[in-house]
Structure formats: structure tokens, C-alpha cells
Point group: C2
Chain length 293, copies 2
Amino acid sequence: MLYLVGLGLSDETDITVKGLEIVRKASRVYLEAYTSILLVDKVVLEKYYGREVIIADRELVESGSDEILNNAQNVDVAFLVVGDPFGATTHTDLVLRARDLQIPISTVPNASIMSAIGATGLQLYNFGQTVSMVFFTDTWKPASFYDRIRENRDIGLHTLVLLDIKVKEQSLENMARGRKIYEPPRYMTVGQCASQMLEIEQIKKEEGEGKDGVYSEESLAVGCARVGGKTEKFISGTLKQLCKMDEELGGPLHSLVLMGRRTHELESDYVREFAVDKQVWDTIWKRDYEGKQ
Amino acid sequence: MLYLVGLGLSDETDITVKGLEIVRKASRVYLEAYTSILLVDKVVLEKYYGREVIIADRELVESGSDEILNNAQNVDVAFLVVGDPFGATTHTDLVLRARDLQIPISTVPNASIMSAIGATGLQLYNFGQTVSMVFFTDTWKPASFYDRIRENRDIGLHTLVLLDIKVKEQSLENMARGRKIYEPPRYMTVGQCASQMLEIEQIKKEEGEGKDGVYSEESLAVGCARVGGKTEKFISGTLKQLCKMDEELGGPLHSLVLMGRRTHELESDYVREFAVDKQVWDTIWKRDYEGKQ
């Protein structure tokens, strides 16, 4: 059996009791470690589970799935995923390959950022599609998120923006020379995300594409850090304000919610508690959001 | 401290290790039992937790929150919620009241249907806003879901439809006479949901509102039963086909996903495995969905 086990969002005790029983009994345990991370190390997990955990990087999952699925017709293999097992596309691939090999599959769901984001006080019903933000380079600034956010904002919905992480990446030079030397991990911050969003808005405006724009420096948003963990932190404010709040938010992982105009007053009351500056918040709330259903 | 503890979706072992520790130590434990249910009884939970669990019905949460929050400044109160604690609006209310009383709050996230629905193979990124479907009566057929689905479909996204449950409801007669006698619980099925969706589409057409309609008998959808549980079951097909599949789907809880035209081929391959009739599926997929980005 192939077990896909969600680990939740924060530490070793966020696994479900059901999940833990599976991990303790399985023949092999893999930890998917490139689409998200827990806030604790592999050694902490190994100690807690009382057994070895094999790190499954992108290479192993995408090219070495035979190894992961080896003999899973006869023995139990646990594939651990931070958050919920179906949060990322990659694992659907793995399941399709297991199906082809007649391997039975069982899933143990867990908290995902896509539902835990409700801890901001914003209603899950008022979210549109989720988008991802990748690290821009000087020459590569993919902006497909912009049209998705436009679609959400046209109908007044919030947008959850998931932020890039770079784990076990090679520099171009090392890649070109085939050297398996990896850069230190990088986790995008709320400040980087807000800046990139504003950069794209500026570029689109110059191109004349989005005459009215999709959002602006004064759009209200919530910066989120370590959602679901003991040190969870939210800071709400304008996108411009959130460009400068990384220190207050603290370490990874971060995510961001851009609020839609359909925000209910109860949601606003809740989120206002986290405001960088309540006066600025109230002014913009009254001007751009309140009653704009 | 007020702890909001998510229980996940299926049975007593879906609680997280962190959640279980809190439940075992808390002074009082409440189980919110009217917006969703686990697939096991209160007695199973009590045995598993080794302690008493107080059922919190709508009346208690909405009018008796003082009782729930009583002395939570000094002792630990655990409020258990099926799924994730922030899935339903009610709990935001409770948190706001706790905040007013200076009660510290801590949340233990867990799987929610809003992320576990990824088990259908449909990508969470391709979902628009979630809608709810309530039981229609002869005189009350609320159709606000229809406009929300239209918004999702206009941009090609999937819609998760959450289905009504009626727990501890009084008949009109008993309510009028002030008799606290409750009807047996009712859980909406995929078939009832699909029928009600088609009924509203018909009414809207007759009213001439949605000239093109929002969906039809031949729209593709996935019927879902007991998502995240051991007896989880998916059946995919047209809305018309899904009107008749309740027996195959089995007991509660049910939910339904109406697919958007932006469905990726990988998603379709996955969902097709659950098709009532693969030939019908393929015909409609090719005609109405494939390549319609």
C-alpha cells in the first residue's frame, strides 16, 4: 500500500494519530521536502517517529518514483507531505503512477494552508482561486498570477498568494558544470511578495494593459507567518506597508492574502486587530471596501 | 485558554497528536455538532479521549457562549470542531467574544473538506469560491449559490458545493408550541443537490435571467462521499447521472464538485476513473471541456 500522509503545517505533533500509526508501521518512510517545509528538522521527526525518514527531493519524486514505489504492492510505503497530501500537483502524478502499477493507495488528510488561512478571520467562502508567486530574477518576472488576481477581484473575492521556496537549488554555474552543489534554502517573504506584486502592477500600467489596474499600493492585505504554528503571526495593512514588515513577521513560511471588496464587516473587524496602523486601515476600509458588495 | 481544535473529517483517530494532548488536559471539552459531523458517535470519542464530551448545539454556541467561555481566563477549555476550526463563520464569532473577555485563544488546524477535496484529483488551484446548498422546501428555494457558480464558471473554475445537514431541528409545529422535540437528522445527498441545481437552472431559464444558463444536465461533476474516510467514494458523471447515484455513494457526508472548463487533462484523467459511464464522459469531455482554456 502507498500511504500519502499529510503532516499539517507546523511541527512533529501536527500529524494525526492515524497518520502516526501508519508511519510507525510502514516499511519505508519518505518525506517530500521541496514544495513546503515543516518548522522542525528531519532529526526531530525521526526521533518522534522512532525511525529513519528518507528525504524525497524533487529529483527523487520526479525521476526516482520507481524507487519510492518499489514493492509497494506487498509492503507499506509512507510518503509524508507537509500540509495536505493533495496540495501540490506532483503527488497526483505519483498516485497515477502507483495506479498503473496496481498499487493500492490510501490518503491521510491534514491541515493545508488553503484552509488554515481561515485563522486570519477571513471567511473561506470569500476566497477565489489561489495563486503562487515565484522569485523574480532580472530577466524572469512571470506574471500569470496577475490575471488570476484580476479575475478574483472582479468578483470581489480574496486571493491567497502562496510564496515560493527554493530548497536544494543549484546555481546556473553549478548546474552547467554538472556539480551537485546546492545553494542555501530561500523562502519568499511577505515583503518580497508585496514588492513583486506592485512591480508587476507598475509594468502592466506602463504597458497600458490594465488601465484601471488590478490593485494598488493602498490595497488592503494580510501578511501571514507560520500559519497554524505556535508562533503564528498576522499583520494587516496596505501592500505598501506590508513591503516593510518582514522583521515583525519573523521567520518562514510566509503567505499573503489580498482582500476583495466583498469583505464582510465581521471579517474586517477581525483582521483590523492585526493592522500596522489602525487609522490608515479605517480610512482605506471606509473609502474602498465598506458596503462595496 | 480557549483551544479551538480541528477533528478532521472521519473518525476519532483523525485528531492531531497536538489536539489530542489538549483534549486530554482541558478542564472542559465541547463538541460543536451542528455544522458538520464525524462518522463516529460521541461515545466513541469519549472512550478514545478518556473523558466527558459536552455536545454544543447551535443554541449553546449562539446563545450560551458565556457558559462555554466561563472562567477560560484561568482554565483550559477545548472546543472541538469537525474539519478545521475556521471552516464555519460561527467560530469566528466565538473567538471575537473570547477576545472581548481577554481570553487567550489557540487554534489547532486540521483537514477541511475545502482542501481534502483535492483527493478527487482536481487541483485546488482551479477551484473558485465554495458555495453551500440548503434543503429546499415547497416555498423556499434559496438560489444565491447560482450566481456564485456563474462567477466561477465564467472564469472556468471548479465549484465545491457543500451540502446541508439538519441536526436537532424542530418541526414548525413543535417550534410553534415551544416543544423541544427534535426531528431525526438529515444529510443532503449528491442526488438531492444535483436535482436542486437543475431545478434552479430550469427556473432561471424560465425567468429568462440566465439566457445561456450556467450549467446543464450534461455538465460534468464529481459526487463525493465520506471524503478523507476509509470508505471515501467518488463518482463522476453528468449532473443528470449524479441525480441517481446516491445508493452507490452510500451514507453521509456527501459533497459535490461542478467542474470548470479550465480542467487540465491530468485532472480529467484522474477523475475519469470514477465515471459512471466512461463513454458518456469521454464524449462530453471532448465536446465541452478539452482545450477550452
